[in-house]
Symmetry: C2
Subunit: 672 residues, 2 copies
């Protein structure tokens, strides 16, 4: 058991699950307490000989084509679950392969090295986090490849494995394996939830979140936290502006609140994103993910290509030329995504056209039928949008599969980017239409306020209240569990929870919020206040949700927010364009300029000038604020320097070693 | 002699200079042929004991605070020159320290490692280029530091060295050393000039330029070459447009040539800069400068700070906190530069005001006096501008000194950036004034045409013809040299040539050209043609200049064009704004829109929309075109991977080595 909480583990595993774990060969890994990490759920019709074969593969050493993990058949040797754990050596080797950093004996974080493991602090216990252990188990299982053509015992002849087939993928497609998910650790979960959302605490226990749920989840909550607190300045400004404009009534101050709010929010968004980058890199250092070596590890299971020698690592693996991927992206993905965006616009145009038609009809007829017809365009539009979104998600998935990315993170980033562009477009198309074509600021203000209040309420309800009710009143009665239940039953119960849907929905919610705030906030100064209030509850509800309402997710180690970082930054630049435009439309400013005797062309020129200057300021700020704190830069450069030195020494080590051997022997001779 | 051309060298050095070189301790460096690399010119009043002391310091090992170089007192032991060369070991050690890459035995470029030198190809001869050798000599001399307080023999007591003083800097300030410059190699120079500019060859011998003049010079000529050829498409387009618009006369095609030219040049500039980045990185790989380790080497001589342990390399050296440098830049440099830019604008405004006044006066009086007065504003403005530029150069130099950069390249980049912004502003202020305030396209066209033709002619004359005439008719008669002259005399003659003024003037010429082309080309379609013609001669004249008219410059290894790269890219984005604006002003387009019944506000809106779309396209293109070719990326990643592996192994090497020693001894025992 590399992870902590050993006392609890001993009870859980040794007592309840029993000592039936597969044997470990490595002497340093033998232990009488094994922590169950991952549950593999088999199909109903899987025979015991197939199960035995799977357990053998899981337990076999990597040399023999196995995963070098520990497997436990559960209470009943013919039951439909396999509990998987990992011996220490496998975990540590994978830690090196993934490029995770750990605390070295001098107190710095350094890339973990298996052969140097004794010099890392606490390498015995409390070394890897629970999330890391579980991810490593998944990584090893996903990496299983058949070493030759073979038949799986107990399966029909059609289900054979060919050389280099991915075993886990194949078993899934044969229906042998239904599910693979990490197990909750009830005691740790209890501690975490108490520190996270049960009390009135303001700060989140981010390190514990990282330890329990892994760094990609922890990055989401860190960003949510950071972003929520950074809403304070615009919220205060918004409150002040609202207060003073109420007091003054129609006295028209020389600098309107709108303008102040707009310029502030434009500069604020850049500062926030730059500061977040710095925070993100120090978090990544703290969580040991600053030097992830995904590029140098095995490619992701779905990656295919002609076998060849990887020029970077020198290993034999599938290769796929970069230019071919670029070609596929440029010639297939981009046009398809463009097509779907076009369909969104088309849908919106049809909606407006139909609405106008129906209104016209209603005015002519004014009957009950025509009144019902009034709702038709909205209903049709909603149905159309939802269908489009569903189709698009599948299409985006297959497009990204087709692009054939080597790394899991690249795959996820490209998939996210595709869905993100579409979703964002879907959300904002109507607002942009109102702002840029209808040029109707009051309508925009009304729409924005209702969106902010209604969508957030709906979100909170659908995200938390409904799953909570379902869980409490529909699912829970079926799985009332007592302390005396066999451990296996408890594990199986976790499988009845729905799968965690991933962080996409959470991130897009933040992005849309950020969009409301930075794109249109100057028309509704209270946006930041509403968002601040929403986010304070959002932190708690998201935490509750991930802890209680879903299965524990696998979470790959992550060094930053990936593509979301870019999305937020792009939005912050688009906001300059939109804010300048909205200011131009604002009636008070138009009055002011007309009083000042400026022609509309000159006002427009002024707005364009202001926009360019603001963009210039934002670019300069983004360049000038360093992306990582000074101390991280130093640590990073130190690591680069040491690797450079090491590379030089390594080349000559062989020669030196020979000399040294010769010398030591000579000394010995002399001694004799 | 690490460098090639050994037969020639033997004659030059052993025969002419004689065997009086300081002795080398290292057995592998002993050679009877030493190539003279650098000439140190001493002050007239320097006594022989001081000269002997300097020669001793140059020759002493680095452990004893020397430079570990070879020194030769010249024919006359009390003469005022010292010829410096370098033994093989010093050169190779410095090669490692600078992080230069060389061809490894497997054919790849790898960072040179002194302890692994035998595995590099041709490490005996033809290994370092002449420019590298000479730069290394300078690097070692510049790095000389006093190891304790000491008096220099033959100098007054006021001239003492304190512990850790930079010896070379101090000797310069005492007037002991007047000059340090690299020596030409006449035979190599002859070969180079024949291949470069004597014939009608179209391609430049870039590798030989790199070998003889070093990579920073070679990068300039590579860029000049690349840029010149990339002028072909806009030149052809410009010719076509001019031809057709002449034929059609006033028939007004639906898409005007202006528009086509503008959109083309906007996209063209991004493509060219992206492709140049790729070319630049492959050149940098070829010339072994892809992994320069300047950050990890000794700080530059002028760098000062409190002594401390560098957290990156672990060496004791002066440290200066990053934030303090940032503070100095933000609070001192930026305002001062801004002030000078303000002075330029002020000067321009005064000029216009004075011109109007004088014109007014002339209209009133119409006398000879008033006619003379008409020229006064121009004369005063030119005097003012020149004085300002001279003052600014000194100010920029001290500002950059004050910023206290650790690396020479950072220093140069910051200095260049400062001068560049000012010079550029100076050149373009008038054009921008005409384009944006006077909004006078015909005047702009006239001005641009005259600038292009006149400035280029003037440039060619001042840059080449005058130095050539001076060299041929004024300087040359004083240094007529025959084959029989003593070698020393030939060396001394090289000192009479003027110092090479650096590449700033050459680069700024290209940048200003590029500015004319990308900012204003749509008003004068023949710009690219004129520039192409100019550059074809520019290549030759620049090559002639650097080979014949100046002393050979020291040239630090460079991995790219540094800050010039950024300047060109920024310009290419500014060009979108300026071109869209000029199109808006173009009379033909205005007519077209008025015929189409668009209000001026709507036309402006359209222009802004087009501008934003074009900027978006340029950003996307810049992101999508990778900055380095695929094969370089793979090589780079391979190096990163190997260093990561090496770092891991290094940590455990000590343990392994101990085991191995033990094992080999045991085997020996058994054997006995």
């Amino acid at each position: 058991p590399v992870s902590g909480g050993e006392k609890v583990q001993s009870k859980l595993s040794a007592a309840s699950i029993g000592p039936d774990w597969t044997k470990v060969r490595c002497p340093c890994c033998v232990s009488d307490r094994v922590e169950p990490l991952v549950l593999v759920k088999l199909g109903e019709k899987v025979g015991p000989e197939t199960k035995r074969w799977i357990i053998r593969v899981i337990g076999a050493s990597q040399k023999d084509g196995g995963a070098a993990l520990l497997a436990h058949p559960g209470e009943d040797a013919s039951g439909d679950i396999i509990v998987v754990s990992a011996p220490r050596c496998t975990l540590l080797r994978a830690t090196e392969e993934l490029g995770l950093c750990k605390i070295y004996r001098n107190g710095d974080m350094e890339a973990f090295s298996y052969s140097d493991r004794d010099n890392f602090k606490d390498s015995g216990t409390m070394f890897l986090t629970l999330a890391e252990c579980q991810y490593i188990v998944k990584y090893e299982l996903d990496g299983l490849r058949a070493q030759r053509d073979l038949r799986i015992p107990g399966l029909p002849d059609s289900c054979t494995l060919h050389n280099r087939d991915n075993i886990w993928q194949k078993l899934r497609s044969f229906g042998v394996i239904v599910d693979t998910f990490p197990l909750h650790n009830p005691d740790k979960l209890k501690n975490l939830s108490e520190a996270w959302y049960s009390g009135n605490q303001l700060a989140q226990p981010l390190d514990s979140v990282n330890e329990y749920f892994g760094s990609s989840v922890a990055f989401y909550f860190s960003f949510l936290d950071f972003y929520t607190w950074s809403l304070l300045p615009p919220a205060l400004l918004g409150l002040t502006i609202t207060y003073f404009s109420d007091i003054e009534g129609d006295s028209e101050p020389p600098v309107s609140g709108h303008m102040l709010q707009a310029v502030f929010s434009m500069l604020w968004s850049t500062v926030v994103m730059e500061l977040w980058k710095r925070r993100s890199s120090s978090l990544s250092y703290r969580w040991g993910t600053l030097h992830l070596a995904e590029r140098f590890a095995e490619p992701r299971p779905g990656f295919h290509g002609d076998l060849g020698v990887n020029p970077v690592t020198g290993r034999v693996e599938p290769l796929f030329p970069e230019w071919q991927r670029d070609l596929r992206m440029a010639l297939v993905s981009v046009p398809v995504v463009g097509l779907f965006l076009g369909l969104v616009v088309l849908g919106m145009m049809c909606f407006y056209w139909a609405e106008a038609q129906v209104q016209h009809l209603h005015n002519d007829w004014d009957s009950l039928l025509s009144q019902t017809l009034l709702y038709m365009p909205s209903v049709l539009h909603i149905v159309y949008t939802n269908m489009l979104a569903t189709v698009y998600k599948t299409v985006a998935q297959s497009l990204t599969e087709y692009e054939n990315h080597r790394e899991e993170s690249a795959f996820q980033n490209h998939l996210t980017a595709k869905v993100l562009v579409f979703t964002f477009f879907n959300y904002f198309a109507v607002l942009f239409h109102i702002a840029f074509f209808k040029q109707d600021v009051p309508l925009l203000r009304k729409r924005l306020a209702s969106l902010l209040i209604v969508t957030q309420l709906i979100n909170q309800v659908t995200e938390v209240v409904i799953p909570f009710l379902v869980d409490r009143f529909i699912s829970a009665p079926h799985r009332t569990q007592s302390e005396d239940d066999p451990q296996e039953e408890k594990f199986r119960n976790q499988g009845t929870l729905p799968t965690f849907p991933g962080l996409f929905a959470e991130y897009i919610e933040l992005l849309v919020q950020f969009g409301y705030l930075s794109l249109f906030s100057c028309v509704f100064p209270l946006t930041a206040v509403l968002l601040l209030l929403n986010n304070l509850t959002e932190i708690r509800s998201d935490a509750y949700k991930i802890c209680k309402l879903f299965r524990k997710p696998f979470s790959p180690p992550a060094a930053n927010m990936g593509v979301w970082q870019i999305a937020f930054e792009v939005l912050s630049f688009v906001s300059v364009v939109s804010n300048c435009w909205l200011l131009l439309l604002s009636p008070r400013l138009q009055d002011m300029f007309q009083e000042g005797g400026m022609s509309s062309t000159n006002v427009l020129l002024l707005a364009v000038l202001v926009e360019h200057v603001l963009i210039l300021i934002k670019v300069i700020m983004a360049v000038l604020i360093p992306d990582e704190p000074d101390w991280i830069r130093k640590k990073r450069e130190h690591i680069e320097y040491s690797s450079m030195q090491a590379l030089r020494q390594k080349k000559s080590t062989r020669i030196n070693r020979r000399t040294q051997k010769y010398r030591s022997c000579r000394q010995l001779y002399r001694h004799l």
